[in-house]
């Protein structure tokens, strides 16, 4: 892989912090995490992550460095997720909500969890409710909500990744938070 990418575009790949293997190593977790948050389905998230890097590899020549490589990858991921949704080939959310995966694995990894079983159950419930509410958001709001609260991206980075203006991102983020809170209150 390294040789092939280096042959393809040595300057660009090197300038952005190494080779394609390094790119995968550094940004694969981020892309997978965002896809998982969006789809709530690990297999589908894996597929989207793979498609994202394939697309990145094939269009590396077209990368004009108008943003960071990381933001460019997120841009590709956002487009892929939108296309999947639009094509309706996958009913990810519906399916994954019907068979939610157990939370224990992740819970154990969250730092500082020394909670009582009751507090832990409450936290699980809250997390599940936020995720469920995020899944019901319109695509654009969901994307922005997840980029902000899962990926910790700032408004400018989100604007670049989504191709929207900063003010539009701000408005969508506000709407997303309000919708999530409303849904949680309605569900409580």
């Amino acid at each position: 892989m390294r040789t092939r990418v280096t042959e393809l575009d040595p300057d660009r790949v090197a300038a952005e912090g190494g080779d394609f293997d390094a790119m995968v190593r550094v940004w694969r977790p981020k892309v997978f995490r965002f896809a998982l948050a969006w789809l709530n389905d690990s297999d589908a998230a894996e597929t989207v992550t793979q498609d994202c890097f394939l697309k990145a590899f094939r269009s590396l020549d077209g990368f004009r460095r108008e943003c960071s490589l990381e933001t460019w990858l997120m841009q590709i991921a956002v487009n892929l997720l939108r296309d999947y949704r639009r094509n309706r080939r996958f009913q990810f959310w519906k399916r994954s909500c019907e068979s939610s995966e157990p939370l224990e694995d992740a819970r154990d990894r969250i730092a500082g969890t020394g909670k009582s079983p009751e507090a832990q159950a409450l936290l699980d419930e809250k997390v599940r409710a936020v995720w469920q509410a995020a899944g019901n958001l319109p695509d654009r709001q969901r994307t922005i909500f997840l980029l902000r609260f899962v990926e910790d991206m700032d408004l400018i980075e989100i604007a670049t990744a989504t191709g929207l203006k900063e003010g539009t991102v701000k408005a969508h983020l506000f709407s997303a938070v309000r919708n999530v809170r409303r849904q949680m209150e309605a569900g409580a």
Binding site: R4, F32, L36, E46, R58, A106, F149, V150, R181
Partner: protein, 158 residues
């Protein structure tokens, strides 16, 4: 600001829209502070949870994953590039066009239009006419044959 935060102001705060007036109010209002902390905590815990969960769900190692990706990328690289295809398809298209035009010419008996071709065709016609004349001459009756030979000799001598 003397009143408590309303729902929109809480949402704005959680979304990151913060101004000095809101900050000043929060500094002095425990109720609003508790409210925005609770709201912010819900989304931040969600973020923590997704990050932890994705780490536990990433099945293949980076090297395995890279190898798989390489396997998917490799067949693409064996195909000719788009601009390369033009060089392959161009001559093929030209050959087909030439064959078609030649076929059309032969079917429609199109004569060559060049000057050299026209001269050659004209001399061939004259030769053919001469041979026909000779054949016709040979079909004259027998008594006239010596005279015909004499005419042939005279025309050959000219």
């Amino acid at each position: 600001m003397t009143r408590h935060f309303d729902e929109d102001e809480i949402c704005r705060w959680v979304a990151g829209e913060r101004d000095a007036e809101c900050e000043a109010h929060l500094a002095g209002c425990a109720a609003c502070r508790a409210e925005v902390e609770h709201a912010g905590q819900a989304v931040s815990q969600f973020g923590d949870f997704v990050r932890a969960r994705s780490a536990s769900l990433m099945k293949a190692s980076d090297s395995e994953w890279s190898q798989r990706l390489q396997g998917l990328v490799a067949p693409e690289h064996t195909k000719p590039a788009k601009h390369g295809r033009i060089w392959v398809l161009g001559p093929v298209a030209a050959s087909v066009a030439i064959c078609l035009s030649l076929g059309w010419c032969s079917l429609n008996h199109v004569k060559p239009t060049s000057v050299a071709g026209a001269v050659a065709a004209e001399s061939a016609d004259a030769e053919l006419l001469r041979r026909v004349d000779a054949e016709v001459s040979r079909t004259i009756p027998g008594p006239m044959e010596p005279l015909t030979k004499l005419v042939d000799t005279q025309s050959g001598g000219q």
